[in-house]
Symmetry: C2
Subunit: 520 residues, 2 copies
Amino acid sequence: MQVMQTLRRAELLYRHDPAVLEGDLVMSWGEFARRTYQLAGALQELGVGDDDKVAVLMLNGHRYLELFYGTFAAGGVVVPLNIRLAPPELIFQINEAEAQVLVVDDTFALMLPAFAGKLPTVRHIIFAGQGKLPDRTLAYEALLAEAPRPKVAERGEDDVAGIFYTGGTTGRPKGVMLTHDNIMANAQNGLIANRGTHRDIYLHSAPMFHLADCSATFGLTMSGAKHAFIPFFEPTKMLEAIQRHRVSLALMIPTMLNMVLNHPNYDSYDLSSLRVISYGASPIPLALLRRALDKLSCDFIQGYGMTELSPLCAMLPPEDHVRDGTPEQLKKLKAAGIPIYTAEVRVVDENDQEVPRGEVGEICARGPMVMKGYWKQPEATAEALRGGWMHTGDAGYMDEDGYIYLVDRTKDMIVTGGENVYSVEVEAALYEHPAVLEAAVIGIPDGEWGEAVHAVVHLKPKHQATADELQHHCHALIANYKCPKSISFSEQELPKSGAGKILKRDLRQPFWEGKERQIN
Amino acid sequence: MQVMQTLRRAELLYRHDPAVLEGDLVMSWGEFARRTYQLAGALQELGVGDDDKVAVLMLNGHRYLELFYGTFAAGGVVVPLNIRLAPPELIFQINEAEAQVLVVDDTFALMLPAFAGKLPTVRHIIFAGQGKLPDRTLAYEALLAEAPRPKVAERGEDDVAGIFYTGGTTGRPKGVMLTHDNIMANAQNGLIANRGTHRDIYLHSAPMFHLADCSATFGLTMSGAKHAFIPFFEPTKMLEAIQRHRVSLALMIPTMLNMVLNHPNYDSYDLSSLRVISYGASPIPLALLRRALDKLSCDFIQGYGMTELSPLCAMLPPEDHVRDGTPEQLKKLKAAGIPIYTAEVRVVDENDQEVPRGEVGEICARGPMVMKGYWKQPEATAEALRGGWMHTGDAGYMDEDGYIYLVDRTKDMIVTGGENVYSVEVEAALYEHPAVLEAAVIGIPDGEWGEAVHAVVHLKPKHQATADELQHHCHALIANYKCPKSISFSEQELPKSGAGKILKRDLRQPFWEGKERQIN
């Protein structure tokens, strides 16, 4: 399969219908396709050919969607960058991916000075914003206007379509290589799950670099649905966009849904167009679901997966989102879901043997959605994909009905506001501070974000550092959302296992006493 | 992908829910899966391993479905045989496929004497009927009861799952090799199109050897839907089954739908469970659609495709089935449809160049549903798949909106009651008669079956033969439905082109005067 096929189908069947709804802009599929081919021609003119990497660092908008398809049409590989990362993190990823082209918008053009001289593989920087053209960048619209006709690449199946960076347990981010077939597999599973048609209108409100948003993108194009955009999630913008564009499909993790439902002017918006709300990152609390079901007449679908699974491998279908049910039914609300249509999921022990139902082990998945591998990390790839199964690193169990429940992250990951934070990355930043002897980063309960990043630090003898100072230190090295929201200092050495490993469970315990950790 | 995954998913999630509804029999997914694995064990015990062929010659029933999955689980390749063929045709196909196992039911056990000594590759014949065990056959249920635990084969992706025989322009039938990925591609497209869920109940009323029925089988298993069966299509049985099993998804070509709607007791049946009726073989006449829409509150979906496309490459979606529309809308009712989700369709000239919209050419398709090839016919495979596109042999055009219209069969095929008849096969049978000098077989209008098979024959000098005699002659060689329903004799040599080819258009012309040929 070729991801380009989805656009060709939309262009063939719906060329006069809207593809893009963004503020006052309405663009048809015919016009969108024309611009995509212009972009492909421009990229080819800049030297982008088969397997060449185009990195994108932008807020949401139709140009982001053009960059996906334009890169594929040129033969290239798209590298969508996490907009919340700090410059040193971005520089690492752009270099590791060997990006030849970098595309930024107004927001991220401000970062260009920090990149100067540090991106040896990048030959061209394209500015796809509205403001003044930054020095040494090429104007996106001018490139399109002057583009030669592209030689549309025939890329597909096992060819890599995108490299999506994800955190790693080793502290080194991993570039997940997803093929055309991977992306198409997810597109089809998503369409079956949300029963999407060309009449749907999907709102890109989650960041487009993230597979949670990508997950809907290509299936909906295949079905000829419309793409609406807001630059980033913000409750008022979200409510306005749903009302204005008559959005039928939206993605809102529970935290976001809560903000939207609590919006002071919630009742003044017409949200009757909503048909399905998808969410992920954590199960939906029953109280929130009840409020949502009272206020909205739409279906809810939870998705569970990870970048390496393109991303979906499980879903909690609409019929499990019951307002009032038996204890058995309400328990299922805490599940991550059932295996999605073409996925197989199993739970294994440390010897990769399937464990009995109800027993905790590592969740593994296989199927056409499993990544090709980690970019330039063949050993990590072999380890993750051993036996033909993707090892998620998540600990969980499957009940007798095939529902998957997460109980812990073997990867030592914190989920805060829908973002994954790998403790090891935060700890590495803390260890760079000269006063830190030991540091352990854990997730603690947070009313708004599910979990908050907390650090427990043991300083070197005769050294001093305040929480404020350590936080400031981290902000220079890693993304804001990864930085500890709070830090506690330990006079003693941190508790350790016999093997010398810090016992995080002991550190977490006082924070979680009497609270249930909602993990997903 | 592995077709077995669809059953594993149904078993995992719906093991207590019904999988099979057949007369009084209700069988759960758990029980169905258990029997399937027993069958796989039995087949392996009989020597069936990877790539070994299991031929099935049976009416519809749950054992047919078990034979699909049981063969896959054993590692084998299923060869579903056309139940309407004559013994010489079946013998040819069983031998060509090199089937090691043949499975028959009560109906086709009657044919075993005709097969005796003529199936050198078949080592075991399994009797899956209810009656007395025929000589030299193995009893299906006894095999299951005594089966050892199977070593479930890990077959998938590009491995062949089934060989499905289809007529050919050369007169030699072709075994279409469909892979696991082919079947899964169709399963997913079907599920997206009919928006199937585990709550659906599908009725197997079209013969299960035919891909028109298979098309729904695996996607519905994946979604956990229920399979209801009637042994063969018959209007009263169909109506009773829909009412009894609360069928939501049914397949009825227009001819069958017409019979059902005209049933004398139609109004006494409760058909309110029907959600989607799929059809193919020809567009639905407007008058029939109007009557159907008046009597039934369900959606209609037309499918277009062929065995080589697993089988769907296009569909006419529900919203095009309008009762009263503009002339433009009503014209679309005569289309074969729009490309299905993961298919690309184009119309080409004899140099394989795409023709402008509205111009007639050969319809070609590509995508994950395109067959692996014709079994043991590499040249025919290369010819059909040249340039990476399946050349359907159908002549048609695509309108500006991407709708595909068929105008003729370049393969010289007649569609009668939903079955494809290749003229060349019928002509070959006629030519075997000693009195026939020239024979041309054409489709002529038929009120009930759309088209009827008609032969125009020019006898040898000083030879005589009656129509009755020639029909009798054909019945011994080819399937009943292929035999000429009527024969006309020409005193003169048949009209020919400069190149010496019989001009069938001239022969057809008097029959079709003033009538529109409904081709699809």
